[in-house]
Subunit: 218 residues, 3 copies
């Protein structure tokens, strides 16, 4: 077994050295961009609107894109989950929703983002997000007693309210933006923060739940 | 160089348009499900038991599945790390463990989950987890002085106790469930929370370390 | 449609059973290692130095590796983002930086890590990181008023100071290490913590911002 591994490793090394003849940073970057170009061209027709110069990521899960509008020059990291739900079958009935996601111009969404909507999510222009950010306008049911005795997946989805993120907001890595939240212009959301309440413009927040760390006076 | 990129982009676009003839949301979903079906059929035999209707995710790292039991109709997101360790070689000796993971029926585990076990992890029926959740019953050594002078990877794994998650628990995105914790029925764990102590049934917790936000009285 | 799905699923099952003849845990592990071997051989030449026995992960984004030194026997999880920036074009001008990342021997970096540098990041020997860890020595601009009115992506990158992580530090899953931070020898950083200030040696910290939970006296 060990000698097979050694032989296979040597083959790998030879293969890698062969590939190196055609490979360098620029080729890698080109392949990266072309993959994004391909997936964008393949799927952009599904969206309500999809602006020029915007690029989707690879290995993404995109559901019901017909409810999603994307501006120009916005970019999306790989492995994004971007989902709208217009109906959910619970054991008792079908629930209907009217979702809408609007993403502005020049928005940059990092890898492994998760944006999920049954109501309304608005992301302004030039919003910048780190990796692994969650934005949701809904939850699996309220926390009332009769709901808690149901399996979470069978609880009807519930939206406390729309999420609005204004222009120039910068959202740190692994932050979570919860339902019903309004984040004002040029706010900064710290890494790993959980935003459960409105954030005023020109404010830095952090923590769980996110609290104001700094206000920048005009 | 720039003109090569333009030509390659045009080729990508043509290729994407060709693929569009055969592609739509339903085809995408079908490919997604068939990939999961394939990986499930390939690997389910490794598990101690694997219930009907359960589906593994793609690009997962699964180690020592013979210690893992999975109920019916449970689903796993992509890029999951699901690991049991029955022995670890430290510089001085080999440590042995008797791991066991039991996952119930109708459980839904989100993308990028990490579940790792040397002792015992029990996940009840209909537990719902967001993405990027960690559940661990072990740590790389205690925090005693003689241990801290060893490289963390060489510290013997240490379990403070089993992790038990009862039925209908809902675990928010990016939450971490730490060793020795018991989470009662129908509890809700907030996004990005770190659960270090027991959580009573019908309770909502959040923060680091997770504290009770709401108790729902029976 | 439904019958097509049933037929396709049956084909998948047959295919999986065929693959099973050649597949088992050891084969899976071998494929995993060989993929890492290949990508390592392909890209190690780009680094300033790359020690023997170190292995890169799959599906990683690595930029300007010429500023990165890696010791021996260090391993990197899949889907890592490891980036140095030596210049950034803002709307007004080009900003120049002199980045340098030094990673020691026996370091283990988990899946989905994000390490990004414009100044200096030093990671000592035998540092162990969980998955989804962020280490950054820079931010998109300060939080001054005139900066906040610019789009975050156009704000000049700003480093509060280098990040230094000493030997034997253990960084928990989903933790974020922020600019200008010095983490002393054998410290333990809790899961989901955000480290914004220096951490003394032989100390356990947790929370947002990370605070001392335990000091281990010598």
């Amino acid at each position: 077994m060990k000698s097979i591994v050694i032989v296979l490793k040597a083959i790998m090394r030879a293969l890698a050295n062969l590939c190196k003849l055609f490979w360098n940073n620029k080729v890698g970057y080109l392949v990266f961009i072309l993959k994004k170009e391909f997936i964008t061209q393949l799927r952009k027709g599904e969206f309500h609107s999809f602006g020029k110069g915007s690029l989707l990521g690879i290995d993404s899960i995109i559901l019901k894109a017909k409810y999603i509008s994307i501006g120009i020059n916005s970019s999306f990291g790989n492995r994004m989950t971007l989902t709208c739900y217009d109906s959910i079958q619970t054991p008792d009935q079908i629930e209907y929703y009217t979702p809408s996601i609007t993403i502005g111009d020049g928005v940059s969404i990092g890898e492994d983002a998760h944006i999920t909507c049954i109501n309304k999510i608005v992301i302004g222009n030039n919003v910048l997000m780190g990796k692994k950010v969650l934005i949701t306008d809904n939850a699996h049911g309220s926390s009332k007693l009769d709901v808690l005795d149901i399996a979470p997946m069978s609880r009807p989805l519930y939206s406390k309210g729309p999420v609005v993120i204004e222009d120039n907001v910068w959202i740190g890595e692994k932050a979570s933006i919860m339902p019903g939240v309004h984040i004002g212009k040029s706010a900064i959301i710290g890494a790993n923060a959980v935003v459960t309440k409105d954030v005023p413009s020109y404010t830095v927040v952090g923590g769980i739940p996110a609290k104001i760390i700094k206000k920048v006076n005009k």
